[in-house]
């Protein structure tokens, strides 16, 4: 893997060469039509960008020459310098020099900047209309013109999406071939199959890699955003960023953009206190906001932490009871993690006043939906008086997911691993009928258990989720899933292996059925339905 710096350098060179090509084209155009303001403006813009980029990455010679050229074109634009033959010559020389400098970045050869050329540039910039100063002849440093094409190409994300879909199809076919080779017990087919396996795996990771962007591309927008919100809220905020180099699928980052912005707004308006309050509470005057990213096995964890006033559990409980999300007596004994999950209910709000930036009824439920849609998880940690953390666990890639396969009523299903906690086998006697549901003691925790066959296949009016007699067999396979800090056990008929699957989104009109996150094709060619854990949980809760 190339170092980040090397990659930045390559991107800079490719962009700079593009600018160089465009400048050559534009200045030739300008020579023919010196009055064309649009061309002039374009040249000006490019030189300006080139200057800024070069300066940022530390190529001072390039930024210096660009600066001089930019000044010259600025003068031409303001009609303070005429675009005469002499001037044109100098400008062409200057642009050639830029090209040489850019090309030399990646080679051993150092380009000597011709002092005469620099002097000429200075002369046309400084002397203005005073044309008495002679422009010296420049020794051409490069007579051989090499035509080169850029090493980088821009590509539409749409095309990468298409490529990813094709890889998905290929993986499905590959699995099919592998299972056929086992069925037919053909050694030759097995050899081809295992080779195909390696190639497709390589291909899959290459395409996934091409879609990765560093989280910094999003994080680096926040200093300005935080400053603006803090100013409007009359608060002082120090923002600390870390893990900008962590890489994530571009589309996932795109989907998370609004959510992250929302969480940051919330943290500043509701989390961090006003300076005077902070001083009274023995805290630093400026609030600290930390936005960090780190890799965790197959996922990326983004954490947003503030050192504000924390979430008042009591208030959340009260509001939840007032909004009839939970009976008062139940709320009393709920674990903190479950209380926080009320914050993600649609319409739930603790805000008393609406400010410009938050509290307009768009709540955390929107954030939650966005995270659900890409198959991620969110959780809250908070301590009153000390601060709050939002922890977002996101998949690195949308298309390929680890999943658990199982069967209910002869239909294959899969649940993404990101939502599964554990798998247990319990005897029927260990399940208890409590109220209208089944519960079981799983590692010291009382967990609601639901028979999926009953939940999915029995007519809604006949459904009896608390009836053990509906179960088949003595030993029950249970997948414990976790959603919104709540655990739920799902009883399945047959449990199969864990496997990487390519989730195909359901096409219209089925895409509006939210019980299914998509489908996948198994090696046998059979269709397997991917259950959406958030939707299953909601459906279960609503049935009850």
């Amino acid at each position: 893997m190339k170092s980040r710096e090397q990659e930045y350098k390559e991107i800079f060179i490719a962009e700079a060469l593009e600018y160089f090509d465009a400048l050559n084209r534009l200045i030739s155009e300008l020579e023919k039509r010196p009055q064309d303001d649009q061309v002039l403006a374009e040249i000006f813009r490019m030189l300006h960008n080139l200057k800024a980029n070069a300066k940022a990455i530390g190529y001072l010679q390039i930024s210096d020459v660009s600066h001089k050229l930019e000044t010259a074109f600025g003068l031409i634009r303001n009609k303070e310098l005429s675009f005469s033959d002499e001037v044109v010559g100098v400008l062409f020389d200057g642009i050639d020099l830029l090209g040489e400098l850019i090309k030399s970045i990646d080679s051993e050869r150092q380009v000597e900047v011709d002092p005469v050329l620099i002097r000429n540039l200075d002369i046309i910039v400084d002397s203005l209309s005073d044309s008495t100063v002679e422009l010296a002849k420049v020794q051409k440093f490069s007579t051989s013109r090499n035509l080169t094409l850029s090493d980088l190409i821009y590509i539409q994300v749409k095309k990468l999406d298409h490529l990813m879909n094709l890889v998905g199809e290929l993986i499905i076919d590959r699995d099919r071939i592998l299972s056929l080779s086992r069925e037919l017990d053909s050694d030759e087919l097995k050899t081809v199959g295992s080779h195909l396996y390696r190639i497709t795996e390589d291909l899959q990771y290459s395409v996934m890699d091409a879609r990765l962007v560093s989280i910094g591309t999003l994080f680096n927008k926040f200093p300005r955003v935080v400053r603006d919100i803090a100013t409007a809220e009359k608060k002082e905020i120090d923002l600390e960023l870390s893990g900008q180099d962590i890489q994530i699928d571009r589309n996932i980052l795109q989907i998370m953009t609004d959510s992250l912005l929302h969480l940051v707004r919330n943290a500043i308006t509701h989390g961090i206190e006003k300076p005077e309050q902070r001083v009274r509470a023995d805290k630093t005057k400026a609030g600290l906001l930390q936005l960090s990213a780190r890799s965790d096995r197959e996922s990326v964890v983004i954490t947003l932490t503030d050192d504000g006033k924390g979430i008042d559990i009591g208030k959340v409980k009260k509001a939840a009871v007032a909004q009839q999300l939970v009976p008062a007596d139940v709320a009393e004994n709920l674990p903190d993690s479950e209380v926080y999950s009320f914050l993600f209910e649609p319409g739930f709000s603790l805000a008393k006043e609406v400010t410009e930036f938050s509290g307009r009824g768009v709540g955390l439920d929107v954030v939650k939906n966005a995270i659900d849609s890409i198959g991620g998880r969110i959780r809250i940690e908070s301590e009153k008086g000390k601060g709050t953390s939002f922890i977002l666990q996101l998949p690195t890639s949308i298309a390929v997911k680890g999943a658990l396969l199982f069967e209910i009523d002869s239909i294959f299903y899969a649940i993404p691993l990101i939502h599964t906690d554990s798998v247990v086998a319990l005897d029927k006697d260990e399940l208890h009928e409590v109220g209208e549901v089944l519960v079981a003691d799983i590692k010291g925790e009382t967990v609601t258990v639901v028979y999926l066959d009953e939940l999915l296949n029995v007519e809604e009016s006949q459904m009896r989720l608390g009836d053990k007699t509906r179960l088949k067999g003595q030993v029950q396979n249970i997948i414990i899933v976790s959603y919104n800090n709540r655990k739920l056990g799902l009883i399945v008929d047959k449990l199969y292996r864990q496997q990487d699957i390519v989730v195909k989104p359901l096409s219209k009109p089925l895409d509006s059925i939210d019980l299914y996150g998509g489908v996948t094709l198994l090696g046998t060619g059979k269709v397997c339905l991917v259950l959406d854990v958030p939707a299953i949980t909601r459906y279960f809760v609503n049935r009850r």
Binding site: E169, I172, I411, F412, L456, N457, K504, L506, S507, K508, P509, L510, S512, I513, D514, L515, Y516, V519, L521, G525, K526, V527, C528, L529, Y539
Partner: protein, 197 residues
Amino acid sequence: MKEKTNKKEAPSAAVESGTDKTAETAVASAKDNPAKPEAVKEEMIHLIVFKLGAEEYGIKIDQVKEVTVTPNVTRMPRTPDFIKGVANIRGDIIAIMDLEERFGIRPVPLAGDLNPHITYTLVIEAKEYSIGVIVREVPQSLNLSMTKIDKTPSFLQDINIHENYIEGIAKVNNRLIIVLDMYKILTQDEIRELKSN
């Protein structure tokens, strides 16, 4: 393997033989109107015709992507009854619909020589999606003149305004064919119904 290829050929062969028949029909209709020599050039419409219940229905051929023996359909719990499930058709996973259930059409017993276990699926390409429609008999292809289609039969006023998936009624050789507009087959209401499940 062999069996599968045979199955795939079956409907296309049927469609071809259907085309022969329609060529006849077209010729016949031209003969019917000897007074109009330009009738040959008049606008033609190509329909795929199939049976639902006891009636014949037609879909314009440009809305039909392919006709195939119905593949394995995976049932999707908690979807409306007329959604039979999803099937893998050439790598695309599409919804399979039963129009008899969708329209509340009373099914009729199959003719004795037909295998009740084999059905056919018309893959329909609607504006935003593809969908499979199950039919029990091999669909036929039919060419007819646009003038044979009555676009606004008066009875349309008698049925519910929302049921405007009927594009017209074609009358050919004593046959009455109900021409469906597949783009309207799933109304917004039904898509919403899918969602609420």
